[in-house]
Structure formats: C-alpha cells, structure tokens
Amino acid sequence: MNNNFRYDDYRYSDMEILNQNQILPQSNEMENQTNHLAEPYQAFVQGNLFNNLYKGYKNYRPARIIPNNEQAELLLNVDQLCFVAHELNLYLDNYPNDQKMIQLFNKYQSMANMATQEYEKKYGPLSITSLSDDKQFSWEAYAWPWEVE
C-alpha cells in the first residue's frame, strides 16, 4: 500500500515487512441505501444522513438552523455538504464496493470543496492550506469558531 516511496537503506539490509495487511473477503453490500438518504439540510440538522437510522428523543425535533446573514448562510452550505460527504465516508469505510455510494461521495465531496472555496473568498480561510498569495496572514484575521459575536 505505502510502497510509492522508500527510505534510504541505512543499516537493515534484510529488513522484511511482516504481516502485510491481510485483506479480508468482501461482503455483500447492504440493501440499496440510496432510497433512505435525507437531503443535505435535513441530514445535517438531524445529525443523520440515513432516514432509516434516525431515532429521535422523546418528542424533540431536530433544531432548525436559520442563518442570519450571508456569512452564516455560506457556512451552513459548507457544513451540510461536508456532513453528507462525511456520512458517506463512514458508510463506505464498511462497504467500500458500493458503487452508487461512491458516486454520491464523489459528487458531495466536490460540492463541499466548491462551497468551501466560495465561503473562503469572502470570509477568510477555513484551513491553513487555503492561504496563498496573502499580503497579511489571514489565518488569524478572522474570529475563532468558539467565539460568540
């Protein structure tokens, strides 16, 4: 797996990598999950992409998240798309051969990346690797996520 680089041979000439990953046989995929998927906003606010897995508590309904301004709106878009991609990611960890879900993951991950760029253009970097061509060090020019405005 990690054989696309090597370290200089230094001392151990006969080193062997023991116990290579034993890949287990593939399981049958679950019944088609795509029928049960919530829309991104609903998935995000309920904390669960899979409507068939959702279990509420007492008579509570998930809190609606209502953005107050453009920044919050763009951030909500990032949050919900990242959330969907992350949920598909966890699913695919267990069912790596589910082609339909792989396609959905690719779709939502690229939408999440686009939404992130859109947010960062106006409201500052969400990740240090988004900094480039900066006159000021914008990483600390914007509020930290635990601060209340």
Partner: protein
C-alpha cells in the same frame, strides 16, 4: 497527521450563562462516556484492526470525535464566559475557579479529572469493537440525561445532534463487528 478546520462540525451559539449546567455538561468532555475518551479510544485501537475497513472506520470516527470535543469545549466556554468568582462560588464552582479560573478542564460531573482508564484496548478486534458499541450507547444515554436537565434551546440543539451521532457511530461499529464475526479466520 491531522488538519485543523477553523469551524465547528455543528454550530454552537449559547447566549445565556449557565454555570450549574456547565458543571453537569463537562462530563461529556472529560467523563467516562465523554468525547475525549471516545476520540482516544478509537484512535488508539485503530492500529491493530485486522483489515482496512477497521483502520479506516476507527480513524474516521476517532477524528470526528475530536471535533465533538471541540463542540463540547465551545459549549462549556460559552456557558462559563465572563462568570465572576462570586457567581462561580454560588454555582459550586469555587474549587474550579481556584484551580482553573474560567478555563476548561476535562472532568466528570462529580469533578473527577479525566483518566485513560475510561477506555481499554485489548488488541482483539471483537473485544475492542464490543467496547466501542457500548461506549456509543453510554454516550447516547448521558446526552439524553443532559437534555432532561435543561430547557435552553441553544443547549438542546447541539445535544440532540451529538446524541444522534452516537446512534450512527453505533450502527457503523455494529456492522464492522458483525463483519469480523463472520469473516475473521480465528472463530471467537
């Protein structure tokens, strides 16, 4: 390695100071069913998972738990923000103030500091995943108890959300557990 994203996984904005509740909520930061224990449990167990499914799932859920630590920390920070020593005293947090002022510290609701004995690693994937499933159920139950103890919608929103994540994580661990039960060569 890890990469920080300068946002919460789920937004938190608590407007009302509430020291009494902070004192209970802290258990989901540093208590036996807390997010810190969850993150360390999965990230520590992942190395000896027998295939790439297990390595991926424990890495990804363990990383998500780190972002839940951040959500909990944000809630605690906002609940205690600008509390005076007098207010801390009244809420039974004089000892917290003495040692930490208004800073965060991973404790349980009884003030017992975080300890790594809240989780185990046996190196046996079936045993470890059984623990992980139990841990998710315990965290779900504690979130429900905490929801019962408040009526502030700014607090209930994130608690419902975090509770729901435990349900999803439980399901994923259970699927992996069943897969290993069926496919691992040494029967257990």
């Amino acid at each position: 390695m890890w990469k920080y994203e300068k946002k919460l996984q789920y937004p938190v904005s608590i407007k009302k100071k509430n020291l009494e509740f902070a004192k209970q909520l802290v258990t989901q930061y540093g208590g036996f069913a807390g997010e810190l224990a969850a993150a360390l449990r999965y990230l520590n167990q992942r190395y000896t998972m027998p295939d790439n499914r297990g390595k991926a799932l424990l890495t990804d859920i363990g990383s998500e738990e780190l972002s839940h630590v951040e959500i909990l920390s944000t809630m605690l920070y906002q609940l205690m923000k600008d509390a005076t020593p007098e207010e801390m005293k009244k809420a039974g947090l004089a000892s917290h103030y003495a040692e930490h002022r208004n800073a965060l510290y991973p404790l349980d609701a009884n003030g017992v500091p975080f300890t790594v004995t809240y989780f185990a690693t046996t190196g046996d994937p079936i045993a470890d995943l059984s623990e992980d499933m139990a841990a998710e159920q315990k965290a779900r139950a504690v979130y429900e108890s905490l929801i019962d103890l408040t009526d502030d919608p700014d607090i209930i929103g994130p608690l419902l959300w975090l509770r729901q994540r435990e349900i999803v994580h439980f399901q994923r661990f259970k699927e992996l557990y069943e897969f290993y039960k069926k496919n691992l060569k040494e029967p257990r």
